[in-house]
Amino acid sequence: MAGKIITISSGKGGVGKTTITANIGLGLAMLGARVICIDADIGLRNLDVMLGLENRIVYDIINYIEGRCRFRQALVRDKRFPELFMLPAAQTRAKDAISIEQMKSVAHEAAQMVDYVLIDSPAGIEHGFRCASAPAELVLVVANPEIASVRDADRVVGLLEAETNTPARLIINRIKPEMVQRKEMLAPEDVVDMLAIDLIGLIPEDPEILTASNRGNPIVLNNGSPAGKAFLDISRRLQGEDVPFAPLKPPSFFQRLLGSH
């Protein structure tokens, strides 16, 4: 049976798509699944550095489409999990160098090899987004709890509903529980309510997400941390496990003293 193709999109840029793709991809691999992460952000390659695999790249997705290498040659194998692969974006090509049909055929080829194909979509709602979401059976829509981001996420949900009818699930990223508690930030329930799609993940703001990706070791590898656990929970839910949503707690006095927040 072919693997499940899942695209990570947001509309708005910089809300955490690539971070989430890397962490969920690793999370699924930690749970024993075979995974290919495809970087569909042509011209703005990032997934490689987030996964710490930038030094292993030989070919990219466009080399493969142009017939300059075989599919497996274009894949970069993860150094931690031998069943996790990344297909790099081309860094020096235009955003529209790949057609929708080409992206579909690449994704379907990937799905023949593994259990999950994750596609990291570029920002925006134009060609790059359409390409990335065309092959998807499920789209994970990422929003931060702020007006502009939720608004753009709503556009993505609307487009998916109108054009392809692809099911969508919501990930709310960069939640600051202490600000929600002080009623200074949109509450996750409100965002879910307004977007009216099912929730699959709540991820807290955590500076360690950045330091972890600086080292190329995404935070999910440290699933003792709340953010790491949040990513692993999403991976579990994707596998069909019924993982309850634990309310996010503000960092305790001691955690703040220790300076990790």
Binding site: V150, D154, E184, L186, D190, M194, A196
Partner: protein, 87 residues
Amino acid sequence: MNWLKLFRRRKNSDQEIAAQRLRLVLAHDRANLSPGMLDMLKDEIIAVISRHLEIDADKVEVNFTEDQRETRLVADIPLSSPRRRAL
């Protein structure tokens, strides 16, 4: 609308303001009708209805309401009180 949620919420918190603004923005986006266009629509509705009925134009309200992903346009058009109506 869950009313425990309303109860919990301090009035006019940043959270409440953001949520209200967001609801309105989403309603206009989904309907693809800007606030200015909605005002024009309201004026046109008033003009059409006034041809057939005496209405209290100042009290007319035309707004979007949201129910999940379904948007509707709700017009509340009070008729002028019959006692004030000219003979």
